[in-house]
């Protein structure tokens, strides 16, 4: 079939042919530009991934012999970007110190230091702004000596506060010229200056004598100079050593810690790390922390244990309730089976994020309806969210509620396949309902169910939404170095290490995520083996 499709393509008119190549060429150029840009910014990994994707994409759509691959390219590419790449990238991060304090790439950190400035004492100018149109102003400076300078109208737009990342805005360069008298219009009020403060901080004013001024106070501009400069090679610099222009101290990047640090004359590191740090490869350090550091290892093992218990019990409970209900609902003699089935499926039909939050409200210690009922009947008000055991019990109750309908649906499908004469034969032997269930129904169900149970185990192993929305892992484990809770599963634990609190230790989180990948991967392999055996 491949041969024929190729010739159909080839039969296209030459006009569309040229158009196709023009479009492909254009895409190639634009993307090549983007890749170069990324590479220059130090985003080697992303540049590489992007390059691979674009190159395969172009090949698939340009080469006739890859015609068939055009059908799968879009799907496979998205799967690559959103499943394979994040997986690989997570594993990569696990070997770095990527975290809130070491979030930049080396190039960016270096750039950050090089763009730091310091103020030169004594050269201060008062400044004022004059409106010259919508969001357009003229900047006027007055020196202590009475000299005056003014600029052409420039646009000063307040940046969108939500723009990401805010620090990346480029400086606004403004040239000023000398004048004798101030413009005869009132300058902007202080209130307006406050509003424009954010933009003004990015302004670099150039005076006719080539000195650069920056805003140094609410009403003041001062002469500034870059704080760091690269040590010239004449003085033994290799391009990596920076010199503090104020103190003349030298700093150099410590590639093991991911910070610039002060160095002495021999080139040895002496000072502490200077923020912001950059992310560097740290080898197995994060994994060693998980396995040996008591502040991490303790909570990790505890959470790992609970994750296994939780997943196992969830599967057992949902399976037990699911099979019993399924065999009841499949009982042909039972009136109203349709209605029962519909009502029993309800928990599955309600979106989980809603029902979990409903339970969070219902279990509330003081206002929750469950405690209301318990206190009326038994006079107790358990602290569902404060006591570790109760909190875990609550998680299991809610998860069973959420999960049994799926098991029931699966079992209903499988039960249909059991021939009725099996039961008739066993009834001849004087068996009863209960014994039938354990001696016929369950053993027959188990075989096709096993892979599904493993999948369900893996799902609960990673049941992020339940824990995040119900307890957020709380109550917390005392004495843990990282945020960790008694009801946390490994997934929510990694989430909290990565996104909660001040640490935001992405490297450690990724190391734990990598360990989970391995466990899930083993489960997946077992499952594929089992399914093949079944066939």
């Amino acid at each position: 079939m491949a041969v024929t499709t190729v010739s159909i393509e080839g039969a296209g008119t030459s006009a569309t042919h040229w158009l196709k190549w023009a479009v492909l060429g254009l895409i190639a150029l634009i993307n090549l530009y983007a890749v170069t840009l990324m590479y220059i910014q130090g985003e080697t990994v992303f540049a590489l991934v992007f390059l691979i994707l674009v190159a395969t994409g172009l090949y698939v759509f340009a080469a006739e012999r890859a015609y068939v691959h055009r059908y799968i390219f879009p799907g496979v590419a998205t799967m690559f970007i959103f499943i394979v790449f994040p997986l690989a990238y997570t594993i990569w991060i696990a070997f770095t110190n990527f975290s809130a304090s070491n979030i930049l790439t080396f190039e960016r950190a270096r750039h950050y230091h090089l763009s730091q400035t310091y103020r030169i004492e004594g050269q201060n100018y008062d400044f004022s702004l004059y409106a010259a149109g919508p969001e357009t102003y003229r900047l006027a400076l007055t020196a202590k000596t009475g000299e005056r300078f003014i600029s052409e109208p420039v646009e000063l737009r307040i940046p969108d506060a939500k723009a990401q990342p805010p620090a990346a805005t480029a400086p606004i360069e403004i040239d000023l010229t000398a004048i004798d008298t101030p413009p005869d219009q009132p300058p902007l009020a202080v209130k307006e200056l406050v509003r424009l403060r954010g933009v003004m901080q990015n302004v670099v004013a150039h005076l006719p004598d080539h000195s650069d001024l920056r805003m140094s106070g609410m009403r003041q501009f001062s002469a500034t100079r870059p704080l760091f400069q690269v040590l010239p090679s004449a003085q033994g610099g290799d391009g990596s050593i920076l010199v503090n222009q104020q103190t003349k101290e030298r700093i150099a990047p410590d590639m093991r810690l991911g910070f610039y640090r002060q160095i002495n004359a021999e080139g040895e590191f002496t000072g502490p790390g200077i923020a912001p740090g950059f992310s560097v490869f740290v080898g197995w350090k994060n994994f060693l922390r998980v396995l040996t550091d008591p502040g991490v290892q303790g909570p990790f093992l505890q959470i790992f244990g609970w994750t296994l218990t939780f997943s196992f019990l969830s599967v057992v409970f949902t399976l037990a309730i699911g099979t019993v209900l399924a065999s009841l609902v499949q009982w042909e003699g039972l009136a109203g089976r349709g209605l029962y089935r519909l009502l029993l499926i309800l928990p599955y039909a309600v979106p989980a994020f809603i029902s979990i939050l409903v339970f969070r409200g219902l279990f509330n210690q003081n206002f929750g309806e469950i405690n209301l009922l318990l206190s009326q009947v038994f006079g107790i008000r358990p602290g569902w969210f404060n006591d570790p055991t109760l909190a875990r019990t609550m998680l299991l109750i809610v998860n069973t509620w959420l999960g049994y309908p799926y098991m029931m649906i699966l079992c209903m499908g499988l039960l249909k396949a059991i021939p009725a004469d099996l039961y008739e034969a066993s009834a001849m032997d004087g068996s009863n309902f209960i014994r039938d269930f354990f001696s016929i129904t369950l053993p027959i169900l188990m075989k096709p169910l096993t892979p599904l149970l493993i999948a369900s185990f893996a799902f609960n192993f990673n049941n992020f939404v339940l824990v995040q929305l119900l307890t957020q892992g709380r109550p917390d484990i005392i004495g843990a170095q990282t945020p960790a809770g008694t009801t946390d599963l490994l997934v929510t634990y990694t989430y909290r290490i990565a996104f909660e609190g001040s640490g935001q230790d992405y490297g450690l989180a990724s190391a734990i995520a990598t360990l989970i990948f391995i466990m899930v991967g083993i489960l997946a392999l077992i499952n594929i083996k089992l399914m093949r055996v079944d066939r």
Binding site: G75, L325, E332, A335, I345, Y348, P351, P448
Partner: protein
Amino acid sequence: MAMVESQSVIYRKLAAHVFLWFFLALIIFPLLMVIAISFRTGNFAVGDIIPSNPTLDHWRLALGMSIIDESGRTIPPPFPVLLWLWNSVKVAVISAILIVALSTTCAYAFARLRFSGRSLLLKAMLIFQMFPAVLALVAYYALFSRITEYFPPLGLNTHPGLIFAYLGGIALHVWTIKGYFETIDKSLEESAMLDGASPWQAFRLILLPLSVPILAVVFILAFITAITEYPVASILLQDEAKLTLAVGSQYYLNPQEYKWGDFAAAAVMSGLPITLVFLLAQRWLVGGLTAGGVKG
């Protein structure tokens, strides 16, 4: 199950009914409770299952209308629930359409065409779909902050970005659709090609119209998955006005500002349509779920 001994059958049926009703009462209790709470006065007050003095205040707030409390103050709706619902539906519908399109073209190639790497890709898809996105949230965040820098419309805090992220989850759907395609006689398309159809026309005019049922199933599954997805959305979306329902709803139960009644009304209002869609579609879905499940 043909019951051979009919003596005790009646007792057994009775016991089954009693058990089922008791169980159902337990199961449905939370759902009935929220409905009741949504009509109850105030956000803390505890009361009976059937509220003694029902109020529509929570519903007004959920529907985006302001209310006036006893002291005469105007209370604006705490959260833009309708907007969130709209965001969720928008994201879910668009991503479901794209997922159907992507997985159908993929499944077509896997079912019908021969190409290098076919069986390898199929197996890899089976394995990779076991890894949940939650585990790679850091990578997602990093990936999308890079995209934001170079192409903001698809970056963090945008709906297109979120939709884009959801397109990664097509592996299982590809398997489902592929299985269905393989039940359709291949000579139908061959015959179409002899009739002069290009592979694309054979796919569009012959195979697609015959696959509408399975595509509907995949659409609904993808829709429900997207509308209930929480972790990725919670990482990618930041502005209150951009949140999806799944991310926004939890703000109601903030310990500092506990809005139990308002939450109940919002939950019933937004959860009901999704529940109904699921119940209406469950006939087909159950087949699709078990088939997909048994096949892996």
